[in-house]
């Protein structure tokens, strides 16, 4: 018998449930005075470098109905393409930009909005540049394990065309599910959990 390669097993995921707001955005659901503000609700200040943009995101179920109890987190590079993370070894990211944000979808409209900056390009493993993108992580009642996807930008056609991750999508008709449409300074992005327009989700 060979030596054991046993590792610990990752803790299994469970749904965030309908009351995820209590823990992650308590002020949003009316629990005031415990935390000064909801973590991740403000991403930029006056010193943050880069082009200010707004993301308007909805998450839709298999009938096309927007989820009113979802929670979306985003993670992105700064305007120079650097991540504000200890695992970023290429340089020091903009100290006025954490790169992470969190928003619940509105309980009436299902829309969630992020005010952030457009990220710079980040290299792929082989050194080629990926197109500007924002990583999304989505949890909600009915979602057993958080869903990872990316938001790319409709006005980055050339960069999108050479992006190594988008290039991996065999069914080219599905590529537009990852591209947010520019409307002024706002990018509109609908995440379809299921069905014909289903968004490409990642296992990475």
């Amino acid at each position: 018998m060979a030596q054991s390669l046993d590792r610990l097993k990752e803790s299994p995921s469970q749904t965030a449930g309908p009351y995820v707001h209590i823990g992650l955005t308590p002020n949003f659901c009316g629990i005031g005075g415990v935390y000064a503000g909801d973590l991740g609700s403000t991403m930029v200040n006056s010193e943050t470098k880069g082009e200010r943009i707004e993301l308007r995101i909805r998450v839709l179920d298999g009938t096309g109905t927007p989820l009113k109890d979802a929670l979306v987190e985003i993670w992105q590079a700064d305007a120079g393409g650097l991540y504000n993370s200890p695992a970023e070894l290429r340089g020091t990211a903009d100290p006025n930009f954490l790169g992470w944000g969190r928003q619940p979808t509105d309980m009436e409209t299902g829309v969630c909005r992020f005010h952030t900056i457009k990220p710079g390009r980040v290299p792929f493993r082989d050194g080629r540049l990926m197109a500007p993108h924002i990583t999304l992580w989505i949890v909600a009642r009915g979602i057993n394990i958080g869903l990872h996807t990316r938001l790319y930008f409709s006005d980055e056609e050339k960069a999108n065309a050479e992006d190594p991750i988008l290039a991996r999508i065999e069914h080219r008709l599905r590529v537009p599910t990852l591209i947010a449409e520019r409307q002024g300074d706002t990018y509109v992005f609908d995440v379809h959990l299921q069905g014909e327009k289903e968004t490409v989700f990642f296992d990475s």
């Binding site: 590792r7 209590i22 415990v34 993670w75 695992a87 968004t199």
Partner: protein
Amino acid sequence: MAERGSNRSPETGAFFQRDRQWHPPAFTPNYKSSVLRSPQKALLSFDNTLSELTGPVFGHAMLGELDNDLIHNFAKAGESAIGERIIVHGHVLDERGKGVPGVLLEFWQANAGGRYRHKKDGYLAPLDPNFDGCGRTITGEDGSYAFRTVRPGPYPWPNGPNDWRPAHIHFSVFGHGFAQRLITQMYFEGDPLIWRCPIVGGISNKAAVEALIAALDMHATIPMDALAYTFDIVLRGRRSTLFENRPEGN
């Protein structure tokens, strides 16, 4: 178990692939909400890029003094939440058994009667005026954490005609990379509702369910004050970067 602790230099290797047979799948029809909220197409697999290997880090400065004390963080001066007083403690580890230091843990739960402080919760059990049900902490150098709360009650939910959630505490965990991001639920040793729950039942492996059940820990109790439960959380581990071409650095 391998050594715990140590955070001398940031690790940058790719994460071990998730075992999606171990996690609950997206589509678990006995949990009805999953039916229309589960992707039907295959996930797109690729080895981690910098976008997944990196992640936000939160400093201890963000924490308030009572953030890890749910018995008092919403209570009026001199009062406290009603219920079975407990301490929940453990370690955040990675799959290699190493403690994961400096990561934000957030938790939320119902009160002792199974009622959540949320406008969408219409359960007839009353709110506790001294309990809100949210807390957070950051792991120490060895990955350890602890918080104080009251044991949550079970509650009924509109799934099957008579479904009851076991007593549970929701956990949200950051690692050091965004690909480690995890939300799960902690259950309590000996609760007969665990094995009847359609949300728990989405996990097919009995050992995986058992990994979410906290054990009564008499060694960590405070006599005449609080019982204690131990709950370790395991995040994805990183591969060593042996012979890898890493043009982005390292």
